[in-house]
């Protein structure tokens, strides 16, 4: 329908500067305003109004902003209107500062103003330390004003995550010239920029430049000297003597983040049943290396299970991540045992250990190991005995796997077992105790 109007405009408006054209412009503007009054969420009306502005040499951006203002007063969550406002500001070259002020005012008027927090987050990328501190204090204010409102807590979580390391797992084999990088967000290798080892630039040939990935693999001319530092994408990574790998998933606990933890703990004293406080403290622990014994996490988790039983399965999942974190913190090496931890799901920091070669996940409650499949390029030996796996076909995605044990699971497909036995890559494969017949371990 709107396209018919566009076609008519293109046919009838020959001279955009003419009086006649002005009449058309005013008419379209009035017409879309009428439609939006009765249907403020009409995709077509917003799009048409935007299109009309682009057809007119001198749009009245002040009026457009004022329209947005009125409509947002009626419904602050109208994302069509927020989008149109962003379009207006872009077209009229409105300053970032004025937009930041606008969002700050909106938030001050109503902390629940989700869309304002959201817009703010997009204006502030990337953030320097000073801005980070200011945002933390804005959010803290909101938390204390209305601790039951989700918006501030979600924003807090995003803020904290935005300071995470970009390189979360690193492996460098200097003698053979191999490098593996696990990155927090998918990246293309050519976005990394120059790579320096011991402050000298290294020429790296990356395996795949075409698509963004969370694991980047490359080769370089071998180096003799001991590797002390690796610099890439603005981060400097220290290697311990003789070590070829580093896990950097959890970020150092800075003074600013420490203050945030203190604030949340204060709030918790005033509002002992606030679920967001409990969740945020657990989040902080999982993202940052908190000092030992600062928080009793198990107690926090139990309280969550008590007052938010609808999401108990999710909190159990969080419990998994906490146990994972604890087990890994005590020993970061290329060989890891996670036996008997009642794990029903996997996640960070395990999925950032790109350097893992041996992994024992036996005696858990796993039904899938999906999270591992795209981030364990060096995994050679995987033990999954005594779990609840029904299918193992997906494990063939692990490029270095040669020893696999899946005894006492729930694999009922003889075809899958056979296919795995026939996979040339495997030198050892145990599968006894599964519902499928034939239960001897096989060494090829």
């Amino acid at each position: 329908m709107w396209n018919i109007r566009k076609r008519l405009w293109d046919r009838l408006v020959i001279d955009p500067e003419s009086e006649e054209a002005r009449k058309f412009y005013d008419n379209e503007v009035q017409m879309t305003a009428q439609v939006l009054r009765s249907n403020p969420k009409s995709y077509g009306a917003w799009k048409h109004r935007a299109w009309v502005q682009t057809k007119w040499p001198n749009p009245d951006w002040t009026r457009e902003l004022s329209l947005c203002g009125k409509m947002l007063e009626a419904d602050e969550r109208n994302f069509h209107c927020w989008d149109y406002r962003r379009f207006t500001c872009q077209q009229s070259n409105a300053s970032k500062e004025s937009e930041l002020k606008f969002t700050r005012d909106k938030i001050a008027a109503n902390f629940s103003n989700f869309s304002s927090w959201h817009y703010r987050s997009s204006l502030l990328q990337p953030m320097d330390d000073k801005q980070f501190e200011e945002e933390l204090s804005l959010v803290t204010n909101a938390m204390f004003t209305d601790p039951a409102d989700q918006s501030a807590w979600l924003y807090l979580r995003w803020l904290l995550q935005s300071r995470q390391n970009r390189m979360t797992g690193v492996y460098v084999d200097k003698a053979n010239g191999k490098i593996l990088l696990r990155v927090a967000k998918p990246m293309k290798a050519d976005q990394l920029g120059p790579v320096m080892m011991n402050e000298k630039q290294v020429d790296i040939t990356w395996n795949d430049n075409a698509s963004p990935n969370i694991v980047l693999e490359g080769t370089f001319p071998p180096i003799d000297e001991e590797l002390c530092t690796l610099s890439v994408a603005g981060e400097c990574i220290q290697f311990k003597e003789g070590q070829s790998f580093v896990l950097r998933y959890r970020t150092d606990f800075s003074a600013v983040v420490q203050k945030t933890l203190q604030n949340i703990e204060e709030l918790l004293e005033l509002e002992p049943d606030n679920k967001w406080c409990h969740l945020s403290i657990i989040d902080l622990y999982l993202l940052y290396q908190l000092p030992e014994c600062r928080v009793d996490l198990r107690e926090k988790l139990n309280r969550l299970l008590q007052f938010d039983p609808m999401r108990k399965e999710y909190y159990n999942h969080l419990g998994n991540l906490m146990r994972l974190s604890e087990a890994i913190a005590s020993s970061v090496s290329t060989s890891l045992s996670l036996r008997g931890l009642s794990l029903s799901s996997l996640g960070a920091p395990l999925t950032h250990m790109v350097f893992l070669e041996k992994l024992d996940l036996s005696n858990n409650n796993l039904t899938s190991v999906e999270p591992l499949l795209s981030c364990m390029p060096r995994l050679q030996c995987l033990v999954l005995d005594h779990n609840q796996l029904r299918s193992i076909r997906a494990l063939r995605a692990l490029p270095s796997l040669c020893e696999l044990s899946v005894c006492h699971n729930e694999i009922d497909s003889a075809d899958e077992i056979q296919a795995m036995q026939e996979w040339p890559q495997l030198t050892a494969f145990n599968f006894e105790g599964n519902p499928e017949k034939s239960s001897d371990s096989v060494a090829q």
Binding site: N3, D83, L154
Partner: protein
């Protein structure tokens, strides 16, 4: 405690059958999107395991009508697909093409009259440089909804040659908001419907675990789970609405997180939103039913394991039987093409 509410099956079956014939004048603005209304009605009917209430003649009549909506434009470099209705010289539209294919599968058609390769190749004419899709060549807004339609069409017709998948994935990632879920366009607020469209698209192109790592998947699941009160809401601090029992619960289904949903409460909310007089479901209890919410609520009940309803394939939003039919067709096509 109140007595549990039961499902008014027969009333809903009758409601959907009526939608096929006539809608009240208050719905006249829906005339140009008849294809969509047809989809809601037939998918709802199918989920109630009642598609056989249509006679064979009626079924053929509908199938013929759908094929009559298929259009191969005379000009070159135009999208080949299905229109929403015979009204007003419409262009083929990406959403109506998606729903047309769904309906044909639900009615057991073998898609032999579908111009498969013409449609899939011409998807390229709708993809924009930023990776998103518009709905028609003439132009429309472009956002994640049409990305989903493109992915679904490419998947169903088993041909991705008209879709630049890496570019599409770049756009999808740009729609990931700070809240951990997906918005309709980059920099917008995360929303239940957009989240479904993004996650389903990623799953359909096999990109889900490559584009989102375990942490992001965890944050996404968390955002979805926090939307449940009894039923689901589409965004934080918004009222719950029956259609999100599909958009959000469907997303969780695709993520393999269905066990984390509180199903009893969800079912209870949906049943409360039934209209016990004329059938159908509304967005909240004691409101007017409409085809969209009637369909989504029915599917929402099926996703929550309500007995006697047909299981749903969440990535395409069609029933299991229709999905099986699709799998069979894809097998046949691959054999013929020697793949």
């Amino acid at each position: 405690m109140e007595a549990p509410i039961s499902l008014e099956r027969e009333k809903h079956v009758k409601y959907f059958l009526r939608c096929l014939d006539v809608l009240p004048s208050s719905c006249s603005h829906l005339d140009s999107i008849r294809m969509t209304i047809l989809y809601f009605s037939l998918h709802g009917l199918d989920t109630l395991n009642s598609i056989e209430r249509l006679s064979a003649e009626r079924r053929d009549e509908i199938i013929d009508w759908i094929y009559a909506m298929q259009l191969v434009p005379a000009a070159e470099n135009r999208f080949v697909g299905f229109r929403g209705s015979p009204a007003l010289e419409q262009d083929p539209h990406i959403a109506h093409t998606y729903t047309a294919l769904c309906i044909l599968l639900i009615l057991g058609d073998d898609l032999s009259r579908v111009r498969r390769s013409a449609i899939t190749a011409s998807l390229a004419t709708l993809q924009l440089p930023d990776g998103s899709f518009t709905a028609t060549n003439e132009g429309s807004e472009s956002d994640i909804r049409f990305v989903f339609c493109a992915a679904a069409i490419a998947y169903m017709l088993d041909d991705w040659s008209g879709v630049d998948v890496p570019l599409m994935n770049v756009y999808i990632r740009r729609c990931l908001s700070y809240e951990g879920a997906f918005a309709n366009t980059p920099m917008s607020e995360a929303h239940g419907g957009s989240t479904y469209c993004a996650v389903a698209s990623l799953q359909l192109s096999g990109s889900l675990n490559k584009q989102l790592d375990a942490d992001e998947l965890s944050a996404l699941a968390r955002w979805c789970l926090q939307r449940q009160y009894t039923g689901f809401a589409g965004r934080p601090n918004k009222p719950w609405d029956t259609c999100y029992s599909f958009w959000i619960a469907g997303t969780l289904h695709i993520l393999g997180m269905t066990p984390l949903v509180a199903h009893d409460e969800n079912r209870q909310y949906l049943l409360e939103a039934q209209d016990p007089v004329i059938g159908g479901f509304s967005k909240y209890p004691n409101h007017f039913p409409d085809p969209l919410h009637s369909c989504m609520a029915t599917v929402g009940l099926a996703l929550s394991g309500f007995a006697s309803l047909q299981p749903v394939c969440a990535t395409l939003n069609i029933g299991e039987k229709a999905n099986d039919k699709l799998d069979e067709l894809r097998r046949i096509w691959r054999q013929k093409d020697g793949v």
